[in-house]
């Protein structure tokens, strides 16, 4: 699929899954979508391994936009991106946007075939400057 992929990373697997359900309701299967949540033992937190797997699952040659919730989700996502191959690294971004609204807006934009930059800026319009 050539549409930009969306990855949702929350401390809570329930939140991530719920946000993904809302995205699916909006865009169906037109956008590659993956979510992850929880630390390596399944408690609240995030895991570089799970984030890496989610990026793989939502991979698109057009790129992947990540929507994250709090601090550690962002830090772990940035770490996961750094571990990607040189070729993939430049095609993955963390959006500075609220996780649920950002995911729905980004996916809606992506479903129209927009570029990674366009998808990211639509999500980031939701954040105060």
């Amino acid at each position: 699929m050539s549409n930009v992929g969306i990855v949702i990373v929350s401390h809570s697997a329930d939140v991530a899954k719920g946000a993904a359900d809302m995205v699916r309701e909006m865009v169906g299967n037109e956008v590659p979508l993956a979510w992850c949540g929880g630390d390596p033992d399944g408690g609240l937190g995030t895991s570089v391994e799970k984030i890496t797997a989610a990026i793989d699952a939502a991979w698109s040659e057009a790129g992947v936009a990540l929507l994250v919730d709090l601090g550690g989700a962002e830090t772990n996502s940035e770490m996961a991106i750094e571990f990607l191959s040189e070729e993939r690294k430049g095609k993955v971004v963390v959006c500075n946007a609220p996780i649920i609204e950002g995911a729905v807006m980004a996916a809606t934009e992506a479903s129209g075939g927009s570029s990674l930059d366009e998808v990211r800026s639509v999500a980031e319009e939701l954040s105060p400057r």
């Binding site: 630390d39 033992d41 937190g45 995030t46 601090g71 830090t75 772990n76 770490m79």
Partner: protein, 200 residues
């Protein structure tokens, strides 16, 4: 006969693991109460590999331990401590001199700042690592001086206002509590001093 690296790994891991309740308590006051459990998970994972880590040259062992923390900790402290260890591994030669340690530690602090998008004075682990670097850098630095700098600087985070991390959500209410990351850094630095000095 355990090597120095073996002793270093085991001492650091044992101290962090033993500090789990204290770190949990500190983090429950101004954070999300997961720092103790997260650090314990990460250092237990290092301990599992301790004999293979100890058989490697110091730079490789540090890089591998850092990677384990990144993968296993599950909070922001994973990438932060992981970056600290991995940068030390990248910068240190197998048999480091005092100058090598100073230079590598400075580089590691810069890397942690970049990873956390933070700086000194935000009530974080950096507020211990900075004064520790200053203590290490002084000519004729002693283990006692480094331990004292770590202890004093961790205490000094108590009156600070948090401007980074979960504690920053509390605003003024973050004042009056020791930063959990500053405390875990103090424990780690003290453990390293004790192991290298041979008093553990």
């Amino acid at each position: 006969m355990p090597t120095q690296l073996d002793k270093l790994i085991n001492t650091v891991c044992a101290r962090i693991i033993a500090a789990e309740p204290e770190l949990t308590q500190l983090d429950s006051e101004i954070g999300d109460a997961d720092h103790g459990v997260n650090m314990k998970r990460g250092f237990e994972a290092i301990l599992v590999d301790s004999s293979s880590l100890a058989a490697q040259p110091l730079p490789d062992a540090l890089k591998a331990a850092g990677m384990t923390l990144v993968m296993k900790v599950g909070g922001a402290s994973g990438p932060l401590y992981g970056t600290l260890f991995m940068t030390l591994g990248k910068e240190l030669p197998p048999e480091p001199s005092h100058d090598d340690v100073v230079r590598a530690f400075a580089a590691a602090i810069d890397a942690v700042k970049a990873r956390g998008k933070s700086d000194f004075g935000a009530k974080t682990m950096l507020d211990v690592l900075g004064p520790v670097l200053a203590a290490i850098s002084r000519p004729g630095a002693t283990f006692d001086a480094v331990r004292a700098a770590a202890a004093a600087s961790a205490e000094e985070t108590i009156p600070m206002l948090a401007t980074k991390g979960r504690a920053s959500f509390l605003g003024e209410r973050s004042i009056g509590h020791m930063d959990p990351g500053a405390r875990s850094s103090q424990i780690l630095i003290t453990a390293v001093c004790d192991a290298l000095e041979g008093t553990s």
